[in-house]
């Protein structure tokens, strides 16, 4: 059974990849072998796809970058160790924005992923390959990483479920670091139950990642009760204004009505500092990235520039040739905001406003169990549309970055198609460790309004 489903996934991945560019590596031989071994395990040999910035022993980890080139990590990430032990079979590594920096997958050194709903449009990013692989029915589950929305936003643009757990829920050991105070490994699937099941296997304390918290991992599947009576859903009205596509707005307001019908109480909440989130994010994320990416210097792994007889020149030219434009731009920004004389004006200020954003959430969660927002202000946009305007691209993350800044969990759930037949998603954000409540709410909606549409580029 598991060998058969893994085989089908691999065949679909191979067949559709020419159109979608979702996979950077497909491991036919290894995956089939592991499938046979995994036959009788908890996850029963379920085929999964893994973003190319998460280490899987024996497979590549390019992070969508030339600078890592042909790098093959000699160890498994903790989440991979736990999932494969439970019987998941990694069939391949998925395309992504270089070092997870981007909202459209156009920053991959290996070309953009194409949206299976319309191949002239972006998949979203940065985990676009994983979102697309699930949306096109190649795999039931995929892993991504979410630093400012990189799981939830592509999930929304491709019409699948995407979860970013609470900061400290999943180990990042073996995830190539982008912004360490924001990064979390997240899960894509077409069903809430699959996300819940997979999180239950991979979550929990790991001595290899000091930021994992000592918090018990509950039975997430048990939270899918279908009973939403008395649930309190926060509606931040001020976030439904300027810049939000009217179809997305209507669609998410309809979701609110569905929740009301299901017995949930809708309460007005305010997040007064949410408008500052993008500014805070692009200071903190770039500052941390400039430090994390200092390790790529052509010495220990990956690419090294040729004909550089002197050490410093070797560093500089390796980084110049190995990194793409967006990564260089963010390293430059991060270096600037951390440079002598500017630390207080930018980094410290951003960390203070981050406290205000976090306090907004704590305050709102006094009165509700979760907050509902759109996931992305628009459906998938055209490939090439925003590449020359970094700031416009950054604003795609307006609804998702706040959860990373506060450390709280968020989930994106598909809620229909636009008039151009492009998926629209809504987002639920909850308090720390509220994954069970988010799953319950997402599953309740899924039961009431199942999203059964399939994209034109699809395995089945």
């Amino acid at each position: 059974m598991s060998r058969q489903s893994v085989g089908l996934s691999i065949t679909a991945a191979e067949k559709l990849n020419e159109t979608l560019n979702a996979f950077l590596e497909i491991d036919r031989v290894g995956a089939l072998q592991r499938a046979t071994e995994a036959e009788k395990s908890a996850l029963g040999g379920i085929p999964i796809a893994v973003k190319d910035n998460i280490c899987v022993k024996g497979l590549q980890a390019s992070c969508g970058s030339k600078i890592l080139g042909d790098y093959h990590p000699p160890y498994n990430a903790t989440v991979i160790e736990r999932l494969t032990k439970a019987g998941a079979v990694v069939i391949g590594k998925t395309n992504c924005d270089e070092f997870a920096m981007g909202s459209s997958n156009e920053n991959s050194a290996f070309g953009p992923v194409r949206n299976p709903w319309d191949t002239t449009r972006v998949s979203g990013g940065s985990s676009g390959g994983s979102a697309t692989a699930v949306a096109a029915g190649i795999v039931p589950v995929a892993l991504g990483s979410d630093t400012g929305g990189s799981v939830r936003q592509p999930a929304s643009l491709c019409g699948v479920i995407g979860l970013k757990p609470t900061y400290g829920r999943n180990s990042r050991y073996g995830l190539v670091a982008f912004a360490s105070s924001l990064d979390q490994i997240g899960v894509f699937a077409r069903k809430v139950e699959d996300v819940a099941r997979v999180l239950g296997v991979m979550a929990g304390r790991d001595p290899h990642d000091a930021t994992t918290a000592d918090v018990p991992v509950p039975d997430y599947v048990a939270s899918l009760t279908g009973d939403l009576k008395g649930a309190r859903l926060g509606f931040p009205r001020s976030l439904y204004g300027e810049g939000l596509d009217t179809e997305v707005k209507t669609s998410v307001e309809n979701v609110v009505d569905v929740y009301r019908e299901l017995g949930a109480e809708i309460v007005d909440v305010e997040l007064p500092h949410a408008g500052y989130a993008i500014a805070v994010y692009y200071i903190i994320a770039t500052a941390e990235a400039s430090a994390n990416l200092a390790r790529f210097d052509g010495v220990r792994y990956g690419f090294r520039a040729e004909d550089t007889p002197e050490l410093r020149q070797m560093y500089r030219r390796t980084r110049e040739e190995g990194f793409g434009p967006e990564v260089k731009r963010r390293i430059m920004l991060g270096t600037y905001v951390l440079s002598a004389g500017y630390y207080d004006a930018y980094y410290l200020k951003a960390q203070q406003v981050r406290t205000l954003i976090k306090n907004d959430f704590l305050e709102a969660f006094q009165r509700c169990d979760a907050i509902i927002t759109p996931t992305s202000p628009t459906p998938a946009f055209a490939i090439g549309e925003k590449v020359d305007d970094p700031l416009a691209m950054y604003l795609n993350d307006i609804y998702t970055v706040t959860a990373n800044l506060a450390g709280v969990p968020g989930i994106s759930v598909p809620c229909g198609l636009s008039s151009e037949r492009l998926p629209i998603g809504f987002q639920l954000i909850g308090p720390y460790w509220s994954e069970p409540a988010l799953f319950k709410l997402a599953h309740g909606y899924e039961q009431a309004r199942p999203f059964t549409e399939r994209p034109p580029i699809s395995a089945s």
Binding site: I278, A279, E310, R312, R329, Y336, L356
Partner: protein, 98 residues
Amino acid sequence: MPIDQSDIEKVANLAHLELAEEELKTFGPQIVEIINYVEQLNELDTKNVEPAIGGLTPEGAKTDSARDDEIAGSLGQKTALEEAPDSAHGHFRVPKVL
């Protein structure tokens, strides 16, 4: 804050990036635009606000991450060097330093 070409060159130097002429020209205005955008944070009075540095969740902050100082397995020299662009005699080899 005004940022000119020499600031951009200085930052590139700090970041160990040998930017091409073309990149210096495009990055300059883009970075100025983003810096101008983030300066909206100055609208907020944060004099008495603690910066959000360290454990984000109360549970994470409470988690004791200290481990006993015990010898554990490691990759070993051979494996650790396998992905290096250049190595010799069990070491990473780099161009001359001086």
